[in-house]
Symmetry: C2
Subunit: 348 residues, 2 copies
């Protein structure tokens, strides 16, 4: 028994075959219809040769164990978060339809451009593919080393510090000096900065010159600006695709508003995705992720890694009654293609 399985070990459970089938039937139908599911409908669709009455007794049990819930007496049953959890852990498994597979392949053979563009486009792809809102996260250059620094002067006091990192990201920082500097001095400062910083990572401390001439002051200024940003700005990028889906997929203005307002906060989205990744889980249902305003959401994530290192993730956000099979398959497929795209070095 693995100490930490890919999905958290089921508490007590493992329903017997029939209960599982019934649960599955309820989940599937409810996902499809958004309505409570009744015993007769289950008896009919899941073809265990049993009558509704039997199904009913089983459903009572499933409800007692917390997999199902009744909106009110004399309505059908609806899956709980726990019910969905069992479903995705034990029952769901789907493959991408051929049309979708084709679309994904097409996409990845044709994308070109900068990493950022690819990620952004990918988020659109995902939301088209699944009809849910997608989240693509690129984790930044925290471990990337500096390839090149350059100080460009805009005018005598304003300079722009442009840094290129080994992972291909580029940052810029304004440097406002309290003194004037000539073009030559700026160029020299640039040269020294290169000597100083190339090969280092942002968290490393460097030996700055203590002289008091203009060039040295420029260098110190630049280094401090750069390092000041280091802790906050991890260079995470977030791309959200199909946020308008939120309005289609959730019911109730209030829910829509809540979800949208979460999506607006990029930092929050990043940590949500990272939290889920960290737990080694690929799906977080309802309250599982611990973000209260998203308690009616399910989030599916799949990591994107290059050389064993997780460099990002793709995610999809929908109601708890989302189409897990399809969506998980899509996330899987896209994340793998992305992994390959960034790993398999031979694309622009």
């Amino acid at each position: 028994m693995a100490r930490r399985a890919k999905t958290p070990a089921p508490l007590v459970s493992d329903l017997d075959a029939r209960k599982a089938t019934i649960l599955e039937a309820v989940v599937i139908e409810h996902i499809d219809t958004a309505q409570p599911v009744g015993s007769s409908s289950v008896a009919h669709h899941a073809d265990l040769g049993v009558s509704p009455a039997t199904v009913r007794t089983e459903m009572v049990a499933l409800e007692r164990e917390g997999y199902l819930a009744q909106p009110h007496t004399s309505a059908g049953r609806v899956p709980t978060d726990k019910g969905y959890r069992y479903f995705v852990d034990h029952l769901a498994s789907g493959v991408l339809g051929p049309a979708q597979q084709f679309q994904v392949k097409e996409f990845f053979t044709h994308v070109r451009g900068e990493v950022e563009d690819v990620l952004e486009q990918t988020s659109l792809l995902l939301s088209q593919l699944t009809r849910y809102t997608s989240v693509v996260v690129g984790t930044g250059h925290s471990r990337a080393s500096v390839l090149s620094v350059q100080l460009v002067n805009l005018d005598a006091r304003h300079h722009l510090l442009v840094t290129v990192y080994s992972d291909g990201t580029v940052t810029k920082h304004s440097v406002l000096a309290s003194f004037e500097a000539t073009h030559v001095e700026v160029t020299e400062a640039s040269r020294q900065l290169n000597a100083l910083l190339i090969g280092t990572t942002l968290d490393a401390t460097v030996q700055v010159p203590s002289r008091t001439d203009t060039v040295a002051k420029l260098v110190r200024e630049a280094v401090s600006v750069l390092h000041a940003e280091a802790p906050t700005m991890d260079g995470e990028q977030v791309y959200i695709g199909g946020s308008s889906r939120v309005a289609e997929v959730f019911e109730g203005v209030e829910t829509v508003r809540k979800v949208l307002s979460i999506l607006e906060q990029e930092l929050l989205v990043v940590s949500l995705v990272e939290d889920i990744l960290e737990k080694g889980v690929s799906v977080a249902i309802g309250s599982e992720h611990g973000y209260e305003p998203l308690s009616s959401c399910a989030v599916i994530v799949a990591p994107v890694s290059v050389e064993g290192e997780t460099v990002g993730a793709v995610g999809l956000l929908g109601p708890t009654r989302m189409k897990y099979q399809e969506v998980m398959a899509a996330a899987e497929a896209v994340s793998q293609h992305l992994t390959h795209h960034f790993g398999g070095e031979d694309r622009g």
Copy 2:
């Protein structure tokens, strides 16, 4: 008579004083309550010493002339787009509340950072200020000249072309060569690119070397990559703040979805804003802007200019029954502060 006034010349109109007052009352109350407004309510609030009956006859006239509409017989009146138009052109004028004024001032004395960050934060400010969704557009470096180009090699075949423009923007482009290049060659190419491009704008053609050595090939490659992007990528930046407001402010899922899906398309948003600016108008109501899916929206824009040149705009998007006075005042104030912020050179 000016050939093209700041706001399109009123067709026939200019209502007499009493009609105007009545229209104003209807608009104000409807903005407030979202309900059709009846004659008695108008007679009461607008204190022209007249009875509801008289108001009614006037309202009939206003309806005939297209300023008001009746959702159905025996309901109150609702302003039409034309009614709102008259309202904003002739009647509306408001100033920012002191609290808001303070907030704006506070904001602009404390913002720091890159242009992009300032614009993004501004969009948040605007949406907080007005409780509507905001749009901040920065028009790009189409006329900016190149300050510096640098080719950085990631590995033998992958290079990164980093360009700094006179307006402080920085772009990066991957350059994938079909041949290998040494570090020295890349550095030399970098030097030549600088000599070649500094001071030019993207639309200018440059004399590339026709030699066939590695350096020359690199240079040609880089120049072509850079120029290829020029027409599409104008470097426009769009920042949307408070998109969750859409869900609060519009009613009907379908409307919300439509609006959100427009907001997702950055290009579309940019051209919407630019269209309105171009017409020299600051408010576009309902069908005026010609974007059908936004026919229930009003858009308020204010240009941001530096040295007489329009470099961007701030905008706010709400339902046609939005609080024009407040919102226009806010847009005005923020755009002026922004103008000043970018014009008054002494901030980082």
